[in-house]
């Protein structure tokens, strides 16, 4: 495996070397990022990367720095793979950041620049960041009755205290043993997850609780996908009632625009959405605890209204309603009823009656 990765990295540079020897302008071809090169695969119900590529040419002043950065990151990854070392993507940034000779410029000005190059390499070489021995900061945790094996340790994720088990960036080496749960509940915020754990929701409802902590990181998404496929567990998603929460859901379900090339390993097309919805505001009389939409939220709604994967009656209704009402509703606004309300009434009721959005 690592030989194959090494070969891909070397091949990238060798192609450039060949161009130099033929005295041709050096250029590499990189699959484009962004919505313009992403399409919604109706059959598989996931986002996929298109086949548009960009030419990154050393002689084009707008590309030159990125060209250099691409080579720097590739070279660093080659060293990691050769030495069998792992580095965080922030470590990579600091390892490669230095000033360029005879200038006031740095090789990388901020971590976003190196992050983008890493994604470019993943798309170009068709490899995962993890395969380049690069890891992201861990974020998100799980809590529930499931047995997991990780680097020789074996444990149950319901016996690790209220904090649960923090999910690492790379879960490829993890194996699942036994799961005594009926479904998975993926929750947007850590605070809501803590609330549900305190109310013993996972135990009483026989579910595995997965805290995304914002936009679900790759480790969490990969975990959800694997649990869904390997343990045959349905996934229910619970987010804030706003365009950001809904996009978190759609990312878990069919992949994200930025990582469309990974959708087949990171998504759960069968996932369902339990809330919050705009209808909840009326049903649960939450009109007094809504927040006004900001301009950015409104713009986001307009974008989501056009996404192919939101092209169904129920989602169009929610999005339009949100636009019309001009408000959003947070998960934690349910505390307005009582602290227990979400665990004792809201979720059980909606899940029992399968009151989901597709």
């Amino acid at each position: 495996m690592s030989n194959e990765i090494n070969a891909k990295l070397v091949e990238l540079a060798q192609a450039v070397l060949a161009q130099l020897e033929e005295e041709r302008p050096p250029a590499i071809h990189i699959p484009q990022r962004g919505l313009s090169n992403v399409f919604f695969d109706d059959g598989e119900r996931i986002l996929r990367l298109g086949d548009k590529t960009s030419k990154r040419s050393f002689l084009n002043i707008a590309h030159t720095k990125k060209f250099m950065q691409t080579m720097l990151v590739a070279e660093y990854a080659k060293r990691l793979v050769a030495d069998d070392k792992h580095a965080g993507i922030r470590e990579l940034y600091y390892a490669l950041k230095h000033s360029i000779a005879k200038s006031k410029e740095n090789t990388f000005e901020d971590q976003n620049e190196s992050n983008i190059i890493i994604e470019d390499l993943e798309r170009t070489l068709d490899v995962l960041r993890e395969q380049l021995n690069l890891t992201a900061d861990r974020r998100g945790f799980i809590y529930g009755d499931i047995e997991i094996r990780d680097s020789g340790d074996r444990f149950n994720a319901s016996k690790l205290g209220r904090g649960g088990w923090a999910v690492p960036g790379n879960i490829e080496d993890i194996t699942f043993k036994k799961a005594n749960v009926d479904y998975i509940l993926a929750v947007e915020t850590a605070a809501m997850s803590d609330r549900l754990i305190e109310e013993k929701f996972p135990v009483q409802n026989n579910c595995l609780l997965v805290a995304c902590q914002g936009q679900a990181p790759r480790g969490i998404r990969r975990l959800l996908s694997r649990l869904h496929v390997e343990m045959n567990l349905p996934v229910v998603v619970f987010t804030d009632g706003d365009p950001y929460g809904w996009y978190i859901y759609s990312t878990i379900k069919q992949g994200s625009i930025n990582l469309a090339y990974l959708s087949n390993t990171l998504s759960v097309p069968e996932a369902q959405f339990v809330g919050m919805t705009m209808d909840d505001i009326e049903t649960y009389e939450l009109g007094g605890v809504t927040e006004k939409l900001k301009d950015l939220d409104k713009k986001r709604i307009e974008e989501e209204l056009k996404y192919p994967w939101f092209q169904n009656r129920k989602w169009q209704k929610q999005l339009n309603k949100c636009k019309k009402m001009g408000v959003r509703i947070e998960q934690q606004a349910l505390a307005n009823k009582s602290l227990e309300f979400v665990a004792k009434e809201y979720l059980p009721e909606k899940i029992e009656s399968k009151n989901f959005l597709p």
């Binding site: 990295l9 070397v10 990238l12 540079a13 060798q14 450039v16 070397l17 130099l20 020897e21 005295e23 041709r24 302008p25 050096p26 071809h29 990189i30 484009q32 086949d51 548009k52 590529t53 960009s54 030419k55 990154r56 040419s57 050393f58 002689l59 084009n60 002043i61 707008a62 590309h63 030159t64 720095k65 990125k66 060209f67 250099m68 080579m71 720097l72 590739a74 070279e75 080659k78 360029i100 000779a101 005879k102 200038s103 410029e105 090789t107």
Partner: protein
């Protein structure tokens, strides 16, 4: 009524009017206002005379100007030329006679205040220091005349004192003249003798001018051509642009016995048919004796001129410098990166006064003075003062320089040269330092500058392109070592070798494009986003 004074008393005072008072009254008219300007005017009078004298004699001018500081606001200006020299009997006339008001009606292109010139300087010197002006002159024969000349104001004559004859052992020819003056000041401003000579040198590329400043600094304005311009020819006046007074002056000087002959002989473009037409329009008989024309007759004839169609005046009388010569001159004086010059075709203003506009642009080097520098000339004589109120300045300002690639008018190193050549330069005032707003002249100056501007715009675009290309190339080269090292490490090659190849491709590509401007392909991409590949 005890206070009323009689005429005798009044006229006693009139007679007592001093030389200095006389001069002060006329000083402004002659250019002697201000400490710096007065000094420059002295230099102007001498240099103008020398240049005119050389031109008429067909001599390549060698002129030296030496300014010495003798005390506070007290200077001596010594000027030497290599013109034909002045025969002794003409010295008082040349240096002493104030010809103001009795200027012969010569319809000829000339540099300056013909006639008043040097005698004005002699007078200024006399008024401020009480001293006569020293001179040396020789026609190149066996002797040199040395002497001092002063002005007898009452008789309007120069008087030579301390005259000496010296042996001319070296065969020297020319004239030296030395004025002392007080209440004047030397500095190196725009209005100084230094700038005056620099400008003179530009408009007189055939002249070599040496200038020695008060601190001993010696500056040489070298000639850029050895071609002596042909002296301008006196041409007969065109009927347009004549006043009744002009007509009467000409009529009193003519040999012609009858008005018909007078008109045909003394004017251009008046045939006998045209003369008949004028007679019938004015009602003045062609048989009339010119000397007997009344003011009324003259007015009617001039009105008839205006109502009659004539051909434009012939152009052979005018002597423009020539675009090529101006370009050489601008180049040798300013060492610019770019020059463009033009001599426009002759035009007329006020219906019949002939003029030619010459313009030049010089960019880079020593051109410009914190923005656009305008250097103005009338018949090759620099116009230094009253820049604000001059038609040339107005025309320069009316040009939209941004359209010609000038981004910042306040900073551009650009010198704008304009020379108006005419038998009758329309000055705004007796100071003769600014041109009146004649519509035709304004328009011609504009056209000339716009013509030069188009070339400037092409030059600047190329320069900018080159600059952008160079800075692009340098930017690319900056990334070479890092990129090469990474490629080398990935492929196991030698980093220096890869860097070499990469640098060569960069430099070759960007150098190549300089010669091949049409190439807008991969070589000089300007896009900011990565291009989408063809599918």
């Amino acid at each position: 009524m005890a206070d009323v004074r009689n005429a005798d008393e009044l006229f006693k005072e009139f007679k007592a009017q001093s030389v200095s008072e006389f001069f002060k009254k006329n000083a402004a008219m002659l250019g002697y206002t201000g400490k710096i300007r007065s000094l420059t005017t002295i230099v102007h009078e001498g240099v103008t005379n020398s240049l005119d004298a050389c031109e008429e004699a067909g001599i390549l001018p060698e002129i030296s100007v030496w300014v010495e500081e003798l005390g506070t606001e007290h200077y001596r200006v010594t000027m030497e030329d290599n013109a034909s020299g002045i025969p002794l009997e003409y010295v008082p006339q040349v240096f002493g006679r104030m010809l103001a008001g009795s200027k012969a009606h010569r319809n000829i292109q000339s540099r300056g205040q013909q006639g008043i010139g040097v005698s004005g300087a002699v007078m200024f010197s006399q008024v401020t220091t009480g001293k006569p002006t020293s001179f040396l002159t020789s026609t190149g024969d066996t002797h040199i005349v040395k002497g001092r000349v002063q002005l007898d104001v009452k008789r309007n004559l120069g008087e030579i004192v301390d005259k000496e004859k010296l042996h001319n052992t070296s065969g020297w020819r020319g004239t030296v003249i030395a004025h002392e003056a007080k209440g004047v000041l030397y500095n190196k401003s725009r209005y100084s003798p230094y700038n005056y000579l620099r400008m003179t040198s530009i408009a007189n590329p055939h002249a070599r001018i040496t200038f020695i400043e008060p601190d001993g600094t010696r500056i040489l304005f070298e000639r850029s051509t050895t071609l002596v311009p042909k002296p301008p020819k006196a041409i007969k006046p065109h009927p347009y642009g004549i006043t009744p007074d002009d007509l009467l002056t000409m009529a009193s000087n003519t040999d012609a016995k009858k008005l018909g002959a007078f008109l045909e002989k003394e004017f251009v473009r008046i045939s006998s048919a045209k003369a008949e037409e004028i007679a019938s329009l004015s009602g003045v008989s062609l048989a009339q004796q010119p000397a007997r024309l009344s003011w009324d007759d003259a007015e009617r004839v001039v009105n008839a001129f205006k109502a009659t169609k004539f051909f434009a005046p012939p152009t052979e009388g005018l002597r423009p410098i020539g675009g090529e010569e101006i370009a050489k001159s601008l180049t040798s004086t300013l060492s610019p990166e770019f020059t463009q010059t033009i001599t426009r075709a002759p035009q007329t203003f006020r219906g019949g006064i002939l003029f030619v506009v010459e313009a030049g642009l010089a960019y880079g080097g020593k051109a410009g003075k914190g923005g656009i520098e305008i250097i103005r000339y009338a018949n090759r004589a620099p116009l230094i003062f009253d820049q604000g109120g001059c038609a040339i300045t107005e025309a320069v300002k009316s040009v939209d320089w941004k359209r010609y690639g000038v981004r910042d008018v306040e900073k551009v190193p650009l010198t704008v040269f304009v020379n108006i050549v005419s038998t009758h330069v329309p000055y705004t005032s007796a100071g003769k330092q600014a041109l009146a707003m004649e519509e035709e002249i304004h328009a011609e100056v504009r056209y000339a500058l716009m013509d030069c501007g188009r070339a400037l715009s092409r030059f600047l675009a190329g320069k900018r392109k080159l600059y952008e290309r160079r800075s692009k190339m340098n930017t690319l080269l900056k990334y070479v070592p890092e990129t090469a090292a990474a490629i080398a490490a990935l492929t196991g090659q030698d980093a220096a070798g890869v860097a070499d190849r990469l640098s060569r491709i960069v430099s070759e590509r960007y150098e190549l494009v300089d010669e091949d401007e049409g190439d807008e392909g991969e070589a000089a991409p300007t896009d900011t986003e990565e291009d989408t590949d063809e599918q």
